[in-house]
Symmetry: C2
Subunit: 308 residues, 2 copies
């Protein structure tokens, strides 16, 4: 059986044909049509079906940016797609004649990693993406956990430092305000300004600094190492919170910062395991880097038809 997985972003709609065991048969993308993404998806679907010789498709799964009500099949609100109360499932079914399931893009990525990526050997997993914000999704017993009207799994908006840095959500001290790539870059710039002798200061300008800067200089520059320590302390704090609440078998890290791999993971794991409630003896929690990169979304969207 074949499924189409679609990942709707602000500029591009990506799609793939995927089989039950996670084999990717075909892949394509089209530009996002603002205000009517069903059009983009229908075009993409026709192209994908043609690409794989008219294969029989059992359904289309869609991971879409914005606030999604998966039960109603509706985009409640997606500012960067110019959509409000948009009946996405119904529109795509009308255009394609195929059954449609939807979720938000972060949840789709989490399900993709859970089914076909770093979490495939575990029943309960959490994906935490360290990018512009901190997003992610929760998979319990092979199924996405979305909460009432799909409004849950906002794991970035958990306060870890009451009264701390201002978050985009309006609260202070959210996990996202410390563990996003944005926060890492902000801290790196701050450290560069504090220490004009830093190698970061002599090698970068405020325009070229990125989430990689501090990690890149951590072995040879004290200020860079301090930024990395600062970042990992806070990331560990948020991840231990999630582990104590959910006790999943694995937490996977995705997004830009996760590209640091072992440089991130080794010190993080040490801090994480030290703080885990009840220790690691009875119920250990694995920490891994997500493995599907920016294809996690299309894999997970297709996997909406494969939830246990």
């Amino acid at each position: 059986m074949f499924y189409i997985g679609i990942d709707v972003g602000g500029t591009t709609v990506k799609g793939a044909v995927i089989d039950e065991s996670g084999g990717m048969i075909a892949e394509d993308s089209v530009p996002t049509v603002m205000g009517d993404v069903a059009q983009s998806i229908a075009t993409l679907t026709r192209g994908l079906i043609a690409k794989c010789g008219g294969a029989q498709i059992a359904g289309i799964g869609i991971g879409c940016a914005g606030m999604i009500d998966s039960r109603e099949g509706k985009v409640v609100f997606a500012g960067n797609l110019d959509l409000k109360d948009y009946p996405l499932s119904e529109r795509v079914t009308r255009e394609t004649g195929l059954p449609v399931k939807i979720t938000n893009d972060a949840n789709a990525a989490a399900l993709g990693e859970a089914k076909f990526g770093a979490g495939k050997h575990f029943k309960d997993s959490i994906l935490v993406t360290l990018g512009t914000g901190v997003g992610g999704g929760i998979v319990i017993d092979g199924k996405l956990y979305e909460g009432f009207k799909s409004a849950g799994a906002e794991i970035g908006h958990m306060v870890i430092e009451r009264g701390g840095d201002l978050c985009t959500c309006g609260r202070r001290g959210c996990f996202e305000a410390y563990s996003s790539a944005t926060a890492l870059i902000r801290r790196t710039k701050w450290a560069m300004e504090e220490d004009a002798g830093s190698k970061m200061w002599t090698s970068c300008t405020s325009d070229t600094v990125s989430g990689k800067t501090a990690f890149g200089f951590m072995d040879s520059d004290y200020s860079a190492k301090q930024v990395v320590d600062w970042y990992i302390d806070r990331l560990a704090c948020g991840l231990v919170n999630l582990a104590n609440i959910f006790r999943p078998q694995v937490i996977m890290l995705g997004g830009g910062v996760s590209n640091e791999g072992e440089r991130l993971l080794v010190p993080l794991r040490q801090k994480f395991e030290k703080q885990l409630f009840g220790g690691t003896g009875h119920a250990p929690v694995a920490l891994k880097i997500a493995s599907l990169g920016n294809r996690a979304g299309v894999y997970g969207a297709a996997a909406l038809f494969l939830e246990d």
Copy 2:
């Protein structure tokens, strides 16, 4: 069909016969036998069956203090019951001939409130108990969520103030370190010492101060009002975190502090709703006081046989 629900605590084992719709047919308790609670449970079960004229019992559900592995039917560790790697389910089945299901006491209370108490009209609910610690349980789609090897749902051990007050778990700044009755009492004592003119200071001694003291004087004493505001700020912070992560339809408050009822709930709800991610329009989260008191555990233990 009838079920027996058992609540095992450090001094007393409570039990009740409960029908499918939550009717309590009989109730009793016996002292806890250290090191072998199966004995206490067997005695209690015989008494309960006799009390209701030999009714046909379909199973025994047990909520037990300590670290429980519900899948294995085992008490992994329970210091105050003198148990370690104790095969509770097997022992009770051997003594009674009945099928047994177990969980920890906090989870049992959460399931009790979800099925027969303040959460009975909702599918997804969280119980947060404000007592010696902050405990509770998570019910998703009518079923307890316990995490890997039942080690999850440690909602009290979520850091909300990094580097803050020391928690019994070894971390600093846990929800429990601010929102337990213990923390409220500690803060009340601190406020009394800071303000010797406070009505709390003239009416209580360090021995008679309780979780009720600050709430009792809040309308007539500035320091008492400040303690209550301090407490509610932190409680709201932790509850919003849980709501953003799970987005349940209801969060129920139990434990000693919840006896303050509306005096707690009205200002708490205001702070909670103001901070909730995405506001209350699309997916509101109700805040309620739990309704079953210290019977929640026996109700929920019986309900282990009634999970959807």
